[in-house]
Each structure stands twice: as C-alpha cells, then as structure tokens.
C-alpha cells in the first residue's frame, strides 16, 4: 500500500474496497484492495471471464449489493453492511460506461450526453458539454442518433455521457471489447490520452493484457473471485508472483526448474537437463518455475550468431499457428517454448514442422516464480 499512500499526497482520493458476495453458493467473491485514485490515473481490474471483475465494478457503481464488507471512496462510505449503509447509484456521483455502451436509442448524441444534467442547468452547462464533445471528437455528430454511428463513436459518446456530470470516479467495463482489432489499438491510445486530459480517476475492467498495459497505471488481478496480485501492469505481466497469475496474464511457457547458481542478479537454472540464465529472485528455496513470454523469444537458424542474449538453445519446430497479425511458433528444445514472430520471418526462415531451429532469450526476459 506504499504506492497508494504516495499518490494520495498529490490529490488522489483513497478507494478502499473489502467485499464478499455469494452467488447461490457456487461462486464466492472475496476481494480487498486499497488504492489511491489520482486525477487521470487508471486502476485496471484484470481477470478472465468469470473472475468476478465486472461484479466488483458493479458493486462500485451501486448496481449490485454486497453480502458483507465495505466500499469507501474519498472518505465516504458507499456501502457498509455492518453500518447498514448503502448509497444508491444516483447518489454516488460516478460515471459508468457499461460493456456495450448502452446508449439511449431514442435520443441524439447530444441528448445522450446531456441526459444526466437537469433541464434547468442545461444552458449553463452548454459550454462544458461543447468542450467535452470537442475533446472526444463528437462535435459534428451531435444531432446523429446512436444507431447511425460507428462502434468507436458510440464508445466516445458513452464516455462523454459518463463525464458530463463531472463525476468523481469513472467506471469502465471492457470499454474496447466491442470494437474490432484495428480500431481497438487506435482507440486504446486515444482513450489513454482522453482520460489523462479529462483528469478524472478511472477504474477499468478488462481481460485483455494489451488494454491493461496500454491504459493502466495500477492493476489488480482477479481470478475465481480472489485477488491474486496488485502492482503496476508491466510488473505483473512480466513478473507474475505465482503460477495462478502467470496463467491468468497468459505467460505462454511455464516449466519447473532448479536454481543451481546465483551471480550478481543472474541465476543459473536447470530445466529438463539444460542450463538457463534468468533474472534472479530474492527467495531462499531453489525450486522454481521458469516463465517465458513468447514475444521475448527470438528464432535462430544455423549456427548461433553473436548476440547479447545469454540463452541459446537448439531445438525442433513443432508447429506454427496464426496469432492475430503475428505467428505463434512452438519449438521443442528439451521442453516446449512458444515464440511470437512475424509472418515474413516464418517465410524468410523457411520454417516447416520438424525442421531444426534455435531459440535465444535474454536472461532478463526469463522470470522465476518460487515453487
């Protein structure tokens, strides 16, 4: 929680959550976290579907009740089962953007954005609405109906509508998942810029680690209704604390190994009879899991070329499958390693199943987890 306290000194508001919820005895949500929601900062709640991340967001919005626990924001109790406090969604002063944006179909873009502003204040708030529409690139679409605009435009309308009442906290449920892949990557960058510019702290739910990396300042990982790890998105994705997190954030290669030597921050680890060099971790036991992300693995053909990578392993190609714009290559080097390469590389290297191929990995790109 040192991170949270540090950010709180520069205008951040504390968000304290400690909730339990039972779903007909089959699924128990039990999550506690405590973060500082600073202006323009984004907390990512990351997890696979069914992890409870959307439920946490809905509890923050007041759309779901909790069975036990408290939710406090900026010193105010929104939900406290012991004190019988429950603030209804209307009184929380939040901006909520649900997964499918839920624009009001019978109202124009401007009508949607102004919906939450009382009629008496519409005129006074006109310049602010104009500015909001300008920032989000919606000025020319004001009179359009939601049915006639694109998915990316709908996402921006939903954002503008959520921000129109100047909420204290913005809640976003998978804001990019309704978009196609090329639009996503453009809008991810845009959304980041807009959230920074608008200065509202946000909580964002996603199952996509590109969203988490591209949008998050802080992140918590949920799985099966439990909090697994919290920290910066990059740290969590590259240095998962345990096997469960590694699996949730999608580390492709996780194999058991044994640390045999430690030397200036680098550890020598034996995996399937092979020696690997990895970033060392500060823990007493030598039984570890070795984690390798596919994008950190380079393919080599023929005798190993000179490079700064510490690990060079000969192997045999097991298979190639498409992974979005890239290709995922599986190589047997004594254990199975996944590599992400471009289509061009697959053609240039003339890769075929069964052909010999080497891999190289930097020591710093191999992460160890205690076993």
């Amino acid at each position: 929680m040192a991170d949270a306290e540090k950010t709180m000194t520069n205008g951040a508001r504390p968000l304290q959550v400690s909730i339990k919820r039972n779903f007909a005895g089959r699924f128990l949500l039990d999550v506690s976290f405590n973060v500082g929601a600073g202006p323009g900062t984004v907390l990512v709640i990351f997890g696979p579907s069914g992890s409870g991340k959307t439920t946490v967001l809905r509890c923050l919005a007041g759309l779901e009740s909790v069975d036990e626990g408290t939710i406090r924001f900026d010193g105010e109790a929104w939900s406290d089962t012991a004190g019988k406090v429950f603030v209804i969604p209307q009184k929380r002063n939040i901006g909520y953007v649900p997964q499918d944006y839920a624009l009001f179909p019978h109202l124009s873009v401007r009508g949607n954005v102004e919906y939450g502003i009382p009629r008496a204040r519409r005129e006074a708030e006109g310049p602010w609405i104009d500015r909001l529409l300008l920032i989000l690139g919606l000025t020319d679409l004001q009179q359009a109906l939601p049915g006639s605009i694109s998915g990316g435009q709908r996402q921006r309308v939903a954002l503008a509508r959520a921000l129109a009442r100047r909420p204290r906290l913005l809640l976003l449920d998978e804001p990019l998942s309704a978009l196609d892949a090329p639009t996503r990557s453009v809008l991810r960058f845009e959304l980041r810029r807009q959230l920074k510019q608008l200065d509202v702290p946000a909580v964002l739910v996603t199952h996509d680690w590109e969203d988490a990396l591209g949008l998050g300042d802080q992140m918590i990982v949920l799985s099966g209704g439990r909090l697994l790890q919290s920290g910066s998105p990059l740290d969590i994705l590259t240095k998962p604390e345990n096997l469960a997190v590694a699996s949730v954030v999608g580390v492709e290669t996780v194999v058991p190994g044994r640390r045999v030597r430690r030397e200036r921050g680098i550890a020598q680890v034996q995996v399937a009879g092979l020696n690997l060099w990895a970033a060392d971790i500060d823990q007493p036991g030598d039984e570890v899991y070795v984690c390798i992300r596919a994008e950190n693995v380079t393919l080599e053909i023929g005798s190993a070329t000179k490079s700064s990578a510490r690990n060079h392993l000969p192997g045999v190609l097991l298979g190639v499958v498409a992974a979005g714009p890239l290709m995922r290559v599986k190589v047997d080097v004594g254990f199975h390693v996944d590599a992400l390469v471009t289509r061009q590389a697959v053609e240039d290297l003339d890769l075929k199943v069964g052909s010999p191929v080497g891999i190289s990995i930097k020591a710093t790109a191999i992460h160890l987890i205690p076993r």
Binding site: G62, Q90, I94, A102, Y115, R165
Partner: protein, 226 residues
C-alpha cells in the same frame, strides 16, 4: 343504421381505453420490474378475462355491482343509483374485461427495455420514477400504442359481458354488437349487414392507420427486431 348504438360503442371504447391507460401504466410497470416471488399470481388474475367465458365474467361483475355486494352498496350510497344496467356499469365491466389487452403489451414492452440502459440512467443521477418517464416509456411507446388499439378494438367487439351487465337499453347500453344481434333476431338482415360492414371497415381502418404509423417497428412485441 342505428347511430345511437354506434355512438354508444365509440363512447364506451374511448372511455375504457382512457381509464385503462391510466390504470395499466403503473400495473404493467410493476409486473415488468417486480421481483416479488408471488408476482405470477397477480399476472394470472390480470390474464383471467382472456380465458373466462364472457358470461362467467359478466355474472361475477354483475354480482359484484349488485346491491348485495359491499362494492355495489358503496357505489349506490355514493352516487345515489345502482351500477347494473347503466352506462357507468358497462364502463366498469369493460375495464375489467379488456384489462389483459392493455396490461400485457405494456408489461412486455417495458420488460424488453435493455436493463443496461436503465442502470446507466440510475448512475447518471436519474431517479427510478424519472427513468420510467424519460427512458422506459419512450422506448416502449409501441407497446403502449398496441395496448390502446387492442383495448379499443376489443371493447368495440364486446358482446357477452355487455349483455350480462348492461342489458339492452336503447341509447344507454345498447352497443353495436348487441344491435346487430337484435337485428338478426328480428330477421332484419339488411340492417345487420349494413352495421356489420360499418364495424368491419372501422376496425380495418383503425388497425391500418396504427400499423402504418409503426411500419418500421412491428407492433407485436414477440416479433420486434432487437
């Protein structure tokens, strides 16, 4: 042509539709959004007029309005005359008889409004009641129009209940459908045929106008494009 009977039917159908609009909005909203576990019992009661023979319904309504029932006595004390065999009694009976035709299209169109929209409205600070008028009602206006048209048409076509409750008093409770029955009983087929034709054309025109107004969004909730 018995214009008195036509006028009585139109007056009855308009009044019944108006009263049912006011009564059904809150009832349909409650049925659409209540999570009460015994809600299905209320739904069953509302749907009863759909399946009960009109004579059975008419008999119970007549009994309820009669001087032996508390309701009948209360009304007679209040107004000074009893309900049965009056136009007001007919309106009361029609409201009950046409209740499911008003409530069901409204309730299903309210329930069809995307729950996400409703929740977003709440998070924007809009109360549940204001959300009903600003979001749910405009989204469900086809259902409300359907309810009114069906109520109106169903009341025009009412026969059994009218006969049981209203009797057959010229200019007061004699509706078009009763008038046609009378004419056929008198072997006056020419008059029956004229009145029937008027009723047929009227019904067709009303329905055609309403359907044309809703050309882009079919009226029947089950067929509506999502």
């Amino acid at each position: 042509m018995n214009w008195d009977a036509i006028f009585t039917s139109l007056r009855l159908a308009s009044l019944t539709s108006l009263i049912l609009l006011v009564l059904s909005l809150p009832l349909a909203a409650w049925l659409a959004f209540s999570r009460w576990r015994w809600r299905f019992l209320i739904e069953s009661v509302v749907a009863l007029p759909l399946v009960l023979p009109p004579t059975v319904l008419g008999f119970y309504i007549l009994t309820a309005m009669g001087s032996r029932s508390p309701l009948g006595r209360w009304y007679a004390d209040l107004i000074g005359s009893p309900l049965p065999f009056t136009f007001e009694g007919l309106v009361f009976a029609s409201v009950i008889y046409s209740l499911p035709f008003a409530v069901q299209p409204m309730a299903s169109s309210f329930a069809a409004v995307d729950r996400n929209l409703v929740e977003v409205s709440w998070t924007l600070g809009i109360s549940r009641l204001a959300t009903f008028f600003r979001l749910i009602l405009p989204s469900a206006k086809n259902g409300v129009v359907t309810a009114l048209v069906l109520t109106f048409a169903h009341t025009i076509g009412e026969f059994g209940v009218v006969l049981m409750v209203g009797g057959n008093i010229e200019g007061v409770t004699r509706t078009v459908s009763i008038d046609i029955y009378d004419q056929v009983q008198d072997l006056n087929y020419a008059a029956a045929s004229r009145t029937s034709l008027v009723l047929l054309l009227f019904s067709f025109i009303v329905l055609a106008v309403v359907y044309s107004l809703n050309r882009n969004s079919p009226l029947w909730p089950t067929l509506r494009k999502r």
